[in-house]
Subunit: 401 residues, 2 copies
């Protein structure tokens, strides 16, 4: 229905996502990070915006970052066509272009002792350069198993990606991470008969990896997770008529964006660097800009409210860079809440604001949980954001006479 | 589910719809019409009501009047059984009782030059009396094509209705309005093989109309739009156990109300006249009263905030007439927003209030966007209004033990 109402114009949409930005108050945390932070620029935007809160998935569902971002972009993560496995997301996120018949796997380098017992599931969190060196070493030795091409690529630190390219492969394979140390890694077991051949190839692959890495002190084996195949996600431009750019530093978010058909841009990690990247491409032929700020979530996971406040204030300080390009539609929100009080993702609705010429200014005077609760948008599903964004951009025609 | 919970009692529901009443604030319009208007009576009702905002269709969808009203009455306009074409709505709105096999068409009188090129798509907006005269002229000359009966009726000004009554007719015909002047009207073309015969009848009908109107200066042809067949909409009394009366002056709203099974009442155009009409039938056997105020929308479409404010104040001044009958449940809302700032329908949520003995008074102290944002109902879909109305009327039993 939405598609039949799309209308082209020159308006551009900037969609700023502060990962896990939402928080909660309780006795130990009398203020959320957003309430504690000094955010004159975000508050100014709020006073010119329509505000509310978004429910990432549903009232009590705590989402991972993948499903939460698919929701933000209007793709119901529960629909099979949008169900991207972690392997697919991560290899896509480092720029690998998957074919629909490929099998993508998220690998974790890990440590086993001489008896093959797992002693560290993350290989002592080896630095990124170590991960790169080991991937290169593996790639030089392991290129094919039977007629199946094997492609190995670094992702971040101890995490890497594996792609199997060939005919008749299946993703119906159990993960090999036993989730605890003190046990052997599991065998790659097929969960259905059509997975048998792929399971046997993966069993041989793990054996080959162990042989190549036998002299490594930390990363001497690999655990295989998120074994998956590329879903047939409808590209952003077909779905919304938007040419989308993603400015995100971390592979997972880059992966989700790319799977939705966005073009990926390289960027620094700080808010100012990311906003500068947007400025450098704004005015070209993209009309949708997804910007992802990671550290709000990381500090939330650590329960470090000072750290979270500091990142929010960094974002606020950099906001004039964004306002300088005067986007026709500006959205600021998060993919989910990561309350410091909980040290993890949560289900709580996330502050949301949308600013455009015709957004409809409401009573909210700041960007925080409490101020957004005074807004005109109420609490609404993240899945509705894109429709609202298109409406504010003047890109949706009237339905019916 | 709702139907199994219905309970009969004597309570009566008055549902006042101010078309397009919602607005937005921006730099050019620092107050909405509702915020600018002096509305002591509506504010008094708000202070005794549960308030909130309704989403006409979905977060960013701007509805036409037809779908917006079906939503208000609890009929999802996206379901095929509720999908009424404009032809059906308009001829129903002027009191014509369609059979399910009839084809209904909305006609626009228009002007063509001697070469058949369209010079005015609305025939110079001829007055209503002219439209009536021309319809009479056509009706006297055109009665049948083959075995198909042709019924022609005035609607308003340059708009009229055509009904084809006969066997084997199909609505699968393209509209003939090319949407721009300087071109010939399109031929009535079938969009599927079963439309071929009807298309041929309509082609002959247009030729006959042109012949009859050859001496007219302005209305010398007709454009055919909204070619449609009556959908099988579940009547209001079966759906809700309510005997419904519609007090509306304009054909479209009368049409939607009639298609939902409401009884139509003739009324004057001013709020006071419409409320008097309700008073005159209140106490009879109807227990649901839909009242439609048109001019709030018209002034919104013109961007005329003084005009919109004035109509709202006229409604407010007439409110004592409604309060005099002391309805058990009183609902005041709009079908959608028509912000003066946008000169057109919009997606923005519409102020809503419901007053009954058990509505639950909340913090809202006036009937406006900002005051309704303080209410207890939040932002909710228009499709839920009827359930809420029935609950407030004591007409819904408890679900489950």
């Amino acid at each position: 229905m939405l598609k039949s109402l799309l209308r082209k114009n020159d308006a551009r949409i900037v969609f700023l996502v502060m990962d896990g930005v939402g928080g909660i108050r309780n006795r130990d945390f009398p203020k959320t990070a957003l309430e504690s932070a000094k955010t004159p620029n975000l508050d100014m935007i709020a006073s010119e915006s329509a505000c509310g809160r978004i429910t990432p998935i549903s009232a009590g569902m705590t989402p991972g970052s993948g499903p939460a971002h698919f929701s933000l972009f209007g793709y119901d993560p529960f629909l099979p066509e949008n169900d991207a496995g972690r392997g697919v997301i991560e290899v896509t996120g480092v720029g690998f272009e998957l074919k629909s018949s490929d099998i993508a796997i998220r690998g974790n380098f890990a440590t086993i002792d001489e008896k093959g017992i797992l002693t560290d599931r993350r290989a002592g969190r080896i630095p990124h350069e170590e991960g790169e060196r080991i991937c290169e070493k593996l790639g030089a030795k392991i290129k094919k198993i039977d007629d199946v091409e094997i492609i190995i690529m670094p992702v971040r630190e101890y995490r890497f990606g594996i792609v199997l390219r060939g005919k008749g492969l299946s993703p119906l394979i159990e993960e090999t991470d036993p989730q605890v140390t003190g046990r052997r890694p599991l065998d790659p077991a097929a969960t259905a008969p059509e997975g048998a051949r792929t399971a046997s190839i993966l069993t041989r692959l793990v054996k080959m990896i162990n042989e190549v890495l036998i002299d490594e002190k930390k990363a001497n084996t690999a655990l295989l997770r998120g074994i998956s195949q590329k879903p047939s996600i409808e590209p952003f431009n077909e779905r919304y008529g938007l040419k989308a750019a993603a400015v995100a530093a971390y592979p997972l978010y880059r992966g989700v964006a790319r799977l939705c058909g966005m073009d990926l841009f390289d960027t620094g990690f700080t808010p100012a660097e990311e906003f500068e990247t947007v400025r450098s491409i704004y005015g070209g032929d993209h009309d949708f800009f997804f910007i992802h700020i990671k550290k709000t979530d990381s500090y939330g996971e650590d329960g470090n409210i000072e750290g979270k406040v500091k990142v929010i204030e960094e974002v606020d300080a950099a906001i004039p860079l964004l306002m300088g390009i005067d986007p026709d539609v500006l959205i600021v929100t998060g993919d989910h809440s990561t309350p410091c009080a909980m040290k993890g993702h949560s289900w709580h609705p996330v502050p949301f604001m949308i600013r455009s010429k015709f957004c409809g200014i409401d009573a909210s005077r700041g960007f925080s949980e409490t101020e957004c609760d005074k807004g005109s948008l109420g609490v609404f599903p993240a899945l509705s954001i894109m429709e609202l964004a298109l409406a504010n951009a003047g890109k949706l025609k009237k339905y019916g006479a």
